[in-house]
Amino acid sequence: MGIPYTPLEGLYILLAASSLLVLVIILSFYKKLGIGKEFTYAIVKGGGQLVLIALFLTFLFQTKLWIFLIWILLLTMIIVGGHTSAKRATHMPHAFQITTPSILIGATTALIVLALSRAMPLQPQYIIPLAGMAFGNSMSICSLSLDRLVREINLNRTGIESMLSLGIPSKQAMEEYNRLSIRAALIPTIDRLKTLGVIFIPGAMAGLLIAGTDPLVAAEYQIIVYLMIVGGGIITAMTVAFLARKKIFTEYDQLAEWLYKE
């Protein structure tokens, strides 16, 4: 059952797989795509983080202290997710004040539902990967919706100002752009949902299959996971829209200064 090689053997295979990346990086420098540097950094950072978390998990699964340690892990996920997402709105002051709670609320709701429905047994082996998925997904949806929202508001500045000048409160003035940003943020998730199993076997299911689970059970589980992702995602996107108003408008319903720098 599971993947049939030891960590050491895995390292060799990893190196072999990396050759593809090296090729990509060389290509990107050659073609001046301008992503080579960032790409390299991302891979090294991501890879390093994965190894660290693997070591941490190994420890976590063996100790009874997991019930405390897991909180540290979850907290880290939220903070890192919030800050990463906050970078999407370059000029928005303290954007993490929006992203962190949005991710937290979206992902936590999904996790609570999973826990209550017993889809997620309260054991680290389940909580950690599922929480990772929930937070990761909420983060990307948060980034997408925030990015889109700021862009839409900027593109439609005159339209919004016209509304404000008609005495329409900011809440209503940005309604339409909220809708757009929520929808835009969910497009990748919905597309993936549509092509589920056709174009790619999603992560959770792939994991279960590799681990030797019955495909039907794996599919069931994948659907559960997707529901969580969509549900949590919508909540995140809505929270972003709700919270962003205070950043986008001043307390006197004017478009905030930072928008003019975007």
Partner: protein, 255 residues
């Protein structure tokens, strides 16, 4: 100017800083009821800033500091906790570029009244029709109320925007270079419209076009580098300005 004039709004000792740059310096200016007041001056003189202070569209937080007051209904609109949404319902605005909502012609007008609580179709129909008539555009659009406002010509769009501003029954209409994107014929129509509107509304217009200011306005204010250099009846400003700076600007002997 024989008709009796009363004050609609009054700018008093208004200072405005962006960061360390002072955009308005001790500006004092009356806005008379049922009159057109034009604000002229070279680019960057603060005329648009002053206009947008009147419905509080541009005193963005942080680095923007304001001293002095703008009195409207005997209340300073810069008082703390002033209800700007209410203010804007009474001080409408028309922008430089025609910017109708990407909705139907009907919706453009009905939008704000509906949000302000008028829900009955019949009342809305009445408002839409009246505003379009008042803005001299009814004849051109009454048979295509449901088509998109974006299909109208620039001049029509701007008149639609004026109609939209009328939909909230404001007391004052602020116009920020409303004709700068329009051809002379469309401009002439808007100017005619302003002369009619001023019977029921008070109009403040910022314009780069001095002939336009001379043609349409009753009072003219000349601003330079954030200061109000001269304010007076339009005829006087254009025939016999008292300040050398005004004279120089008006006759193009500038810089």
């Amino acid at each position: 100017m024989s008709k009796k004039t009363s004050l609609e709004m009054e700018v008093k000792d208004l200072d405005l800083w962006y960061d360390t740059k002072q955009a308005l310096k001790k500006v004092n200016m009356p806005v008379y009821k049922n009159k057109i007041t034009a604000i002229i001056g070279p680019s960057g003189c603060g005329k648009s800033t002053l206009l947008r202070c009147m419905n509080r569209m541009n005193d963005i937080i942080d680095k923007c500091r304001i001293e002095g007051e703008i009195l409207f209904d005997d209340k300073n609109v810069y008082r703390k906790n002033y209800d700007v949404v209410e203010l804007r319902k009474r001080v409408g605005m028309v922008f430089q570029k025609p910017n109708p909502f990407p909705k139907s012609i009907y919706e453009n007008i009905a939008y704000a009244p509906r949000i302000h609580g008028i829900k009955k179709k019949k009342s809305l129909d009445g408002i839409v029709q009246q505003c379009l008539k008042d803005a001299f555009i009814w004849e051109e659009v009454h048979d295509r109320m449901e088509s998109s406002a974006m299909g109208l010509s620039g001049g029509q769009q701007q008149r639609l925007c004026i109609a939209r501003a009328l939909s909230i029954e404001p007391d004052i209409i602020l116009m920020d270079e409303p004709c700068s994107a329009l051809d002379p014929i469309a401009t002439a129509k808007i100017e005619d419209l302003m002369r009619v509107l001023v019977k029921d509304y008070t109009v403040v217009i910022v314009t780069h076009n001095m002939q336009q200011a001379a043609r349409v306005s009753d009072y003219t204010a000349y601003m330079y580098l954030g200061e109000l250099i001269e304010f007076g009846e339009t005829e006087q400003i254009f025939e016999n300005p008292q300040e050398e700076l005004t004279e120089k600007y008006i006759t193009g002997r500038f810089g």
